[in-house]
Symmetry: C2
Subunit: 207 residues, 2 copies
DNA sequence: ACGTTTGTGTACTGAACAGTCAATAACGCT
DNA sequence: AGCGTTATTGACTGTTCAGTACACAAACGT
């Protein structure tokens, strides 16, 4: 009955996300978003309600992908849980888990957590962004904690350890590598950090 | 022979740092800096060469404080090294080590590493900021690694562990807590994360 | 006491900004 | 084929921005 939109909503939000990643929120103008997505200003306002709306909806899209991909990578039988955790840690540090469309040579900018970067930049003054980012993180904590519990059941991780605490710690390391990566350190150093964290997981009871 | 300046340079840079912390670089206008420091635009340009100059020199000031305080907290005899490491970890997570002037109830915004926040926001497009932030981090890595080596000499940490790797890991955790804090998590959670990291340090050889 | 030198405050400028609006284009239904 | 509905576009507006220029104030040497 009416004119259909000529753009793919998810594709546009993904392009906007890339732009926000590259320049930050305050460093990105509406014209930048327009250029990155190919949409005119009017369309952006009609479809997403302006700059802030684009950010919020781009974060929601990121959250959806995250909530689908990360638990899928981590969930599974108890036997391979430790190995899945290891793989996830290494991939997360290099931004692979979400990079369904990123070239094999994953770049640093794409690796850093989008939600984390936005939360650090404007989360203090933007409650909605902070809430979205916190939700993102909570989903990851649950997925990692469940994987840790699986590894505990399989006898790979000390059953006396608190699975949720370990999950928070591992994800804090991952978020930390985003910052360390921003300092200019290369993938080799980040891999080293991730491996060190993995190696320190409590493997057997020390009582 | 000429009129002396009426402001204290370090005090002004510190006020500007607080403003940058609160609003980010792109979210802070020169007028904001002017209001935060009490200096007029003209004085700011004459003394610091504009917004970018203020940032760079504020980061340099931060770097100086960091380079003086952190090694001082960590250096010392081998016997107390592990305890100093523990104390540093907890303080860093709550922003105490640099808070010479911050009220006892340290706030989250002041805790996050200034250099890390700036590097994540504009480091990708500002080589000078990235370099300064990386220097900051390098100083901390050296100080922490030296403290780890002291603890190893004292028999508190597994001598087979690579001290530098452990230092990178611990500092990555600290930087990670800056992001986790931005998600809105309280000091209790951050303390928990820091304690978990400390508890996982390799205490005895496992060969 | 005066003049030079430097710090300080304010008014100004051109550019960039976020957001709005009216005109146009494309589709499905009748 | 025509009409109503919705997407799309690009120009427009008022505001804010970083940076500059200029006038004034203060201190010291002479």
């Amino acid at each position: 009955m009416a004119r259909p939109r000529t753009f793919d909503r998810d594709h546009v939000l993904h392009a906007a996300e890339r732009q926000f990643r590259e320049s930050g929120y305050n460093g990105t103008s509406v014209d930048d978003i327009s250029a990155a997505t190919g949409l005119g200003r009017g369309s952006l306002y009609a479809a997403f309600d302006g700059k802030h709306g684009v950010l919020v909806q781009a974060m929601a899209g990121y959250f959806d992908r995250l909530g689908n991909v990360a638990p899928k990578v981590l969930a599974g039988p108890d036997e391979g849980a430790l190995e899945r955790l290891h793989g996830y840690l290494l991939r997360a540090v290099h931004g692979v888990p979400l990079a369904d469309d990123v070239s094999p040579a994953s770049d640093r900018a794409a690796a850093a957590c989008f939600a984390g970067k936005m939360a650090l930049e404007i989360g203090a003054s933007d409650a909605e962004v902070q809430r979205l980012a916190a939700e993102c993180f909570a989903v990851l904590v649950m997925a990692v904690a469940e994987c840790v519990r699986a590894a505990q059941r399989n006898g790979d991780i000390d059953p006396d350890a608190d699975a949720e605490d370990l999950a928070y710690l591992l994800l804090t390391v991952i978020r930390g590598t985003d910052v360390v990566g921003a300092y200019g350190h290369g993938p080799a150093r980040l891999t080293q950090i991730a491996e060190s964290a993995f190696a320190l997981l409590p493997r057997v009871s020390r009582r």
